[in-house]
């Protein structure tokens, strides 16, 4: 948060400055769309450790951060990449091996938790989950919760409706607010002050952005402020919330960025194959992350014919008739 007039910086500097080891991080996007992948790779490249990660239904970004060894604890609703990995593979391995602590919520619960953080209230209510193990079973121990002042003392709380049966609702689940130290989202357009526009579905990016103490925005297009102000109805995030703006074309690759490019089925399939095997995964990390200077180099290395196939059709916003089946 600041009032500087020009927040444009490099990803290297922004991650270095705003994502210290152990920090509470939230990333935007949903499964295989608009994940802030350039930032995810930079976090891995800088070998950040012990992160406390928040997401709702983030697939690729979450899985790579876990695979990269950056994540100690995770609060999430859904760790999957659609048809490319119904359960994220490095996530699954880490949980089964006991190297990752997970707290499970539902998708709406996670959304409400970010919304509560954005709204400045300690919780929001819902009926979701009553009677289930999401209420009863806690991933983080009570000791951990008590010891860590960045965590609420309870996973959630159940209360009777103080308004009797108003709205035909006798009881509710209260889910605690999340205020990440930093949120990273990838958007289609931003200006140098940080005004941002997401095209297509916004997922919970806006709530995640506003809940955070610090906000890093990566953007496909860095545009003039005047351009953003011509149609302010289409902007979701104002400069008031933003700390850093980084211009990174293909910044969500290999996930999709609506109206710019599609997800890369070949890369996602290759990722799945690599993720399933320890040795291949090490090789993948070395070749695709650690040995590369930055996202620009990653994109430059990627088969340009394939990239061309991913470019969004201007009418539909995705790559029409893209070959998407099989390995």
């Amino acid at each position: 948060m600041n009032s500087r007039d020009d927040k444009v910086t490099t990803l290297d500097r922004a991650i270095n400055l705003l994502v210290p080891d152990g920090c509470h991080l939230s990333i935007g996007g949903f499964t295989i769309n608009r994940n802030p992948m350039a930032a995810v790779y930079e976090v891995i490249r800088q070998r950040k450790k012990e992160l406390h990660l928040y997401a709702h239904s983030n697939g690729q970004g979450v899985d790579e951060l876990i695979g990269g060894g950056c994540v100690k604890r995770l609060e999430i609703a859904y760790a999957g990449s659609g048809r490319f990995a119904p359960t994220c593979i490095r996530f699954r391995k880490a949980v089964e091996n006991g190297t990752l602590e997970v707290e499970d919520y539902s998708n709406f619960q996670m959304t409400l938790r970010f919304m509560a953080g954005a709204m400045g209230v300690p919780f929001l209510p819902t009926r979701s989950g009553l009677g289930t193990d999401i209420i009863k079973k806690w991933g983080f121990s009570e000791d951990l919760r008590t010891a860590d002042e960045k965590l609420p003392d309870r996973k959630l709380a159940i209360i009777d409706n103080p308004f009797g049966n108003w709205s035909e609702t006798p009881k509710l689940v209260l889910v605690p607010a999340i205020n990440p130290d930093v949120t990273i989202i990838h958007v289609q357009q931003a200006d140098k002050r940080g005004n941002a526009r997401i095209q297509g579905l916004t997922f919970a990016d806006v709530e995640q952005a506003k809940a955070a103490r610090h906000l890093i925005i990566t953007c496909e297009e860095l545009v003039e402020e005047e351009f953003m102000r011509q149609e302010p109805d289409r902007n979701q995030i104002s400069f008031l919330n933003v700390d850093a703006v980084i211009h990174i074309p293909w910044g969500a690759y290999p996930t999709a960025c609506y109206r710019h490019y599609d997800y890369d089925p070949d890369h996602l399939n290759r990722y799945r194959a690599a993720a399933a095997d320890e040795f291949r995964y090490r090789t993948y990390l070395e070749e695709k992350v650690f040995n590369l200077k930055d996202h620009r180099e990653f994109i430059a290395q990627t088969n340009s014919e394939q990239l061309k196939k991913l470019i969004a059709d201007p009418e539909t916003g995705y790559a029409k008739a893209l070959k998407r089946s099989g390995e």
């Binding site: 760790a79 089964e96 009677g131 193990d133 099989g326």
Partner: protein
């Protein structure tokens, strides 16, 4: 000559059509990726043209000119009525006026006799033998909406007496279960598997066998079910018609992305 000999269909096609037939005209259909999306598309194209396909990501009434491979696929964003976000989508289901018109199509790793679902973990929750994706929107949908349809692979380890982890509420523990828990009325209506169709008894809310697919016996289904399944009311399922299959294959999944991929 029986109709079914005139063409072949796969189990997955049978399941998609079985689910599609559950959708009523005017329903708002919540679906996920894969076969549930295909069933929703089939329903809209066959028997429920005024149904609305609805994704938890916030897309309302997407055009779906190509099959999305995730509910966040850019293909769900094209020419919708409104592109919103998760907050609005789940609010629409929790909303007392719109929520009661939603039918949710869900899948899971385990199901019990009351239609409660596990999509989180097998074994101990904190250090599981197998970890799955987690609830996603499933728990929300199962909590809020009027009616759910559940897809399952019919295996004994999946139809269990007791869930390893209880992710999404069905009828909980019987007719008073949801009310006791504080949930709105509504709950699972049908379980569609590769062997047949199960429903829930009006009074006990226990699952019973409602239909077997052609060539499958009640005993075979019981053998793949980890609890006693009442089969008194079982009928033979009417297989997909040529018309249904043609629309499913040609209009809903011409690339065979769901119908021809191993699940």
């Amino acid at each position: 000559m029986p109709e079914k000999d005139r063409y072949k269909y796969s189990n997955r096609e049978m399941m998609a059509i079985a689910a599609a037939r559950e959708v009523k005209n005017g329903d708002i259909v919540f679906c996920g990726t894969g076969i549930s999306m295909l069933a929703a598309m089939a329903a809209k194209n066959i028997n429920a043209p005024l149904s609305t396909i609805f994704f938890e990501t916030g897309a309302i009434d997407a055009k779906l000119e190509e099959l999305p491979l995730a509910v966040a696929d850019s293909r769900v964003m094209y020419k919708t009525a409104v592109n919103g976000g998760l907050a609005e989508a789940f609010a629409t289901m929790q909303n007392r006026f719109t929520g009661s018109r939603v039918v949710g199509i869900l899948g899971a790793a385990q199901i019990d006799i009351y239609g409660n679902l596990n999509s989180t973990a097998i074994g101990d929750y904190r250090q599981p033998d197998v970890r799955f994706s987690g609830s996603g929107g499933a728990c929300d949908v199962a909590s809020f909406v009027n009616r759910t349809i559940i897809f399952m692979q019919h295996e004994k380890r999946k139809f269990v007496k007791k869930l390893d982890y209880f992710t999404s509420p069905g009828w909980i523990d019987g007719p008073a279960g949801r009310k006791k828990a504080g949930l709105p009325p509504g709950g699972p209506a049908a379980v569609i598997t590769n062997l047949g169709v199960m429903r829930f008894d009006r009074n006990s809310k226990r699952m019973y066998l409602a239909a077997t697919y052609p060539g499958i016996t009640s005993a075979e289904i019981q053998a793949e079910t980890g609890f006693d399944l009442d089969s008194e009311r079982a009928e033979e399922f009417t297989p997909p018609t040529a018309h249904e299959l043609r629309i499913l294959r040609e209009r809903c999944d011409p690339q065979g992305l769901i119908l021809k991929t191993p699940s």
